[in-house]
Symmetry: C2
Subunit: 295 residues, 2 copies
């Protein structure tokens, strides 16, 4: 993922082939996945009152996620990400943050955060200037209400840009960390996956580490669970794989499932999302999970 | 397909589940398919200068279709169609015509029409009030330049609404007619497919009649070609099947292929489009056609 400004977004779009527009956003994808599993989820993020903003609000509320933050009536346009997907299903994401740069502590919905069993934060929020304060404030609200705080490292480049901030947030506030093997290696500055996993397990109650086709590893204290990747007939677009893994895992955690089952729910949701273009489920995840005997 | 106004479009959208946005429009889909086959195509239609309009223009020009009509800077928004697809791949289309209601003869690009081997008209254009005059004017320009005129009947309900106009246009101006078996039966008010096919072949030089999974029939004078449907692993969404059949057929005609090959190109393009959501090709049709030995 690389950050681009509005001019670069226009230039790049003019060079791109025909596209398809769909709602996205890392945490929003995760919450949509939880709702698709039949869970309850809410979302906090900032839109402009433009057409992309209207579509985003439609899609996330239509799937059943609580989303109450009013759209900004001035300032930058709703964020967009221009995603290029290669025939081998890899993607390059070019993100124009737009209205997200205005996100600050004043947009937090205290009642919503206090009501949630788990707060889920995305590392991408270290990029917009005022969101770091919102992240910390949200984590404090959640912990003040006796809730869990979880964090996705989001992206290895993002970890490079904000390593010290990530480390500090994790040390102070994170109970459950989600990362892929490159991100966790970058965070702890090691190429040794096992060393990185140990460091994460030391810093957090639960470390959830995804390894693409090699599956995932969940470490909680001395317990370690190896979870295989769920089978996919054809990998079409890997966008959203981590987001939807988190959907399954967080759904499992909030419904009291064993860590192993949480991981298998994550693998199942990730497998659905990489089988088609886009990072929102095309089929009800609840049905897929039930068919796999995981609900 | 049913026509809806802006209020009904808003009401329906608020009741719909999460969606995906992509460019569409019957003739625009057909032209995008021709470009994807490696052919040359142009398009005439009216947009507003809003975001949907910008996306439409981006997508059709990015695939290589000539599109020069300026966007309207006032008046109704760019047209949209709210499409509901059932698990068995059938679709209901709810069309808000928007800026299309302003389309008139003044928007015709005479040089573009005169330069094209075949003019392709959609029956849907009988719905907006001023487009009928544009249809006739375009057909006269094409015939004046010694070109062929083709027409898709578009939709059985549309045929019901405008049967006399369709009959008159076909009698006066249409060399190649495209229709599915319901549309052609409605046009000639008969439930007997063979009788309808004979009537169409009498009125036009070539009648191209599609029959879903039963394949298609191409009748030209005394010659008759039965073309099987191309195999599809899973039919996901039938939106655009007729549009893309026309892409293959028109590409074949303009590159001097035998009618049987034109029909098989049509079947191949239709098979690609019904294998996924949306009415624009996901894979280059040129590659598919080459792999099938049809180019």
């Amino acid at each position: 993922m690389r950050l681009i400004d509005g001019l670069e977004a226009d230039r790049l779009y003019s060079e791109m082939g025909p596209g398809v527009e769909m709602s996205g956003g890392s945490v929003a994808n995760t919450m949509a996945g939880i709702a698709s599993l039949g869970g309850r989820a809410g979302y906090i993020g900032l839109l402009r009152d433009d057409q992309l903003g209207q579509v985003f609000r439609h899609d996330i509320t239509a799937v059943g996620v609580t989303y109450r933050v009013p759209a900004a009536s001035a300032g930058p346009a709703t964020a967009r990400c221009l995603i290029l997907v290669t025939p081998d299903a890899q993607r390059t994401m070019n993100t124009y943050l737009g209205a997200c740069v205005e996100l600050g502590p004043e947009h937090l919905d205290r009642a919503l955060i206090e009501s949630a069993q788990v707060l889920y934060l995305e590392g991408y929020l270290f990029d917009p200037p005022r969101a770091k304060a919102a992240i910390r404030a949200a984590a404090e609200i959640a912990h003040g209400a006796g809730r869990k705080v979880s964090l996705s490292l989001s992206d290895p480049f993002c970890v490079e840009r904000h390593r010290a901030d990530f480390r500090a947030l994790i040390a102070d506030h994170v109970d459950i960390v989600f990362a892929n093997e490159i991100e966790i290696g970058s965070l702890y500055e090691t190429g040794d996956f096992e060393a990185a996993a140990r460091a994460a397990a030391h810093d957090c109650e639960i470390a959830v580490l995804t390894r693409s086709a090699k599956g995932s590893v969940v470490v909680a204290g001395a317990a370690r669970h190896e979870i295989p990747a769920a089978p996919v007939p054809q990998v079409v677009d890997t966008t959203g794989a981590g987001d939807l893994y988190a959907s399954g895992f967080l759904y499992g955690i909030t419904y009291g499932r064993l860590l192993d089952v949480c991981g298998r729910l994550g693998s199942l949701c990730a497998a659905e999302i990489i089988s088609h273009i886009g990072a929102r489920p095309e089929r009800p995840l609840k049905d897929l999970a039930a068919a796999s005997g995981l609900l």
